[in-house]
Amino acid sequence: MRAMLVRSAAQARYAIVGAYFLLCGFQLVIVGQATEIQRTQSFGRVAELMPAFLQRGLGSRAMLMATFRGTVAFGYFHPVVCLVVVLVAMYIATEPAHEIESGLVDLELARAVPRHRLLTRSLILAEAAIAGAVVLMGIGTVIGARLFGAPVAELPSATTRLHLLLNLAAIASCFAAFALLVAALSRRWTTAFTTAALAAVVLYLMDFLAIGWPLLRNIAWISPFHYYPALSVIAGESALARDITTLAAASVVCAGAAYWFFARRDL
């Protein structure tokens, strides 16, 4: 297993390192921006820029976005950040489809390697990549605060940051398990990754648009992003345990289905 993990990590190293730079850099930039807005006391103008449908949909929590704390925390649930973490996890989790497409599976499974090991390897690596991403994001915030002289007392509390990052990791894990399922059913990596990535984008948009579109609100529960109510987390009003449990359960179902299908299919 160790040899396979090292090999897969080496294969995905550019995607992982690139994403880590982006995610960590993003935190530096957003802390720098928030510090600048705070220094120039411009958060009032930020509030004015917020779209009306968001203000209506989010209610009083929308105003959190126009605070130093909310802006810094935005670095943990910005669409780009969410999608980058999710896409990296899915990139790694779809490796079994690449192995089938390239024929590498013939070499690996011609040896006494159990089939499920390919999935377990990808899942472990995806989880490790997610953990690395959220840890680096947290570190990025701390470095940013020091670098730009941000008012440390006004940063989101360590607990809030931890909750946001845990929730983000749970979402990414859920999508990794979904991507694993798609890969377990596919013969082509591009098919698997594109399907999983498009699903992630559509589900993100569904959750976002549900803020202002009552019709979508009825089905937004199917989106994993629905279980990442970041503003509620910042406001200390979220049911974190319930959301993470829901995401974990969905992950287990997807991963379980992936193992089941992969064990029975032709490779």
Partner: protein
């Protein structure tokens, strides 16, 4: 493991939806034997090999390697096999040495001490070649690495899908020597497919010919040679027109039928496996 055949295939069938991969395929390969598995493209050779490795699941029937069921006890069966795929997949960023090292670590089997170096030398893979990334290697070099990875663990059963495709004549010779060496040692059964029939003739003890997913003939090269139709041309001393006949089996009855006519010469075209196999391919195409 028991004392039965190295490979036993019983009624093995694989359908890809409405398409027949192989159907009711049955044959045995004895231990220590070199078995050539022949057939036109799409005849079912690779499907059979991938069923032996449990990469494909049979529609019905079963395959057994050294007494171990390839599907039910797949891990144990694969522990006995070394496999060369028809199109060798690579990790382009790895050097040949690292590639071999990675593959040998996958299931914890140990490369026989000195044997890997022996194979690298035999296939003329220099230390520089072994360090170069596989993406920079020629097709022939990759094929040599493929053969080495299949044999480096001295597996009881080596399954080789077109092992000499893309090799230069010297390396084909090196491959033949390796197979001969394995045959002499008697510890490895070789099951190979090839379109290079001269190579099959020189390396294989027996061949099986598959067409449309079914085994159409199987036997030793000598059996086939005896059984094959040969073109015989008889010329006569008295200047009468020569007789040209396709004869199967001994020539005696044919010669006896000449009623003592003065024979000047009897020319028998030598047996060529190519012609024999081509006849089956052509029958399948018609």
């Amino acid at each position: 493991m028991n004392g039965g055949p190295a490979i036993a295939v019983e009624g093995l069938t694989k359908y890809y939806g409405p398409v027949i991969g192989i159907e009711d395929l049955s044959f045995d390969v004895a231990r220590g034997e070199v078995y050539g598995f022949l057939g036109a493209n799409g005849a079912g050779k690779t499907t059979t090999m991938r069923l032996l490795l449990d990469l494909l699941r049979p529609s019905r029937g079963r395959a057994i390697v050294m007494g171990v069921d390839c599907h039910r006890d797949s891990l144990a069966a694969r522990r006995l096999i070394g496999y060369l795929p028809g199109d060798l997949p690579i990790y382009p960023d790895l050097g040949a040495r690292d590639y071999l090292s990675y593959l040998s670590r996958l299931d914890g089997r140990r490369v026989a001490p000195g044997y890997l170096d022996h194979l690298l030398r035999r296939f003329d893979v220099s230390a520089i070649d072994a360090r170069r990334r596989l993406r920079e290697q020629s097709h022939g070099m990759k094929q040599k690495i493929g053969i080495i990875q299949a044999l480096m663990l001295k597996p009881p059963v080596a399954i080789l899908d077109e092992p000499t495709a893309g090799l230069d004549p010297l390396m084909v010779q090196a491959f033949r020597e390796t197979v001969a060496e394995l045959k002499r040692a008697g510890e490895t059964t070789v099951f190979l497919s090839s379109h290079v029939l001269a190579e099959v003739e020189s390396t294989c003890d027996r061949i099986g010919l598959v067409r449309g997913g079914r085994l159409v003939t199987s036997g030793t090269i000598d059996d086939i040679r005896r059984d094959a139709t040969r073109r015989v041309t008889i010329t006569f001393a008295d200047g009468s027109p020569p007789i040209v006949r396709d004869v199967r089996g001994p020539l005696g009855p044919m010669l006896a039928s000449l009623d003592g006519r003065p024979i000047h010469d009897v020319a028998v075209e030598p047996f060529r496996l190519e012609d024999y196999v081509a006849q089956f391919y052509a029958d399948g195409a018609s």
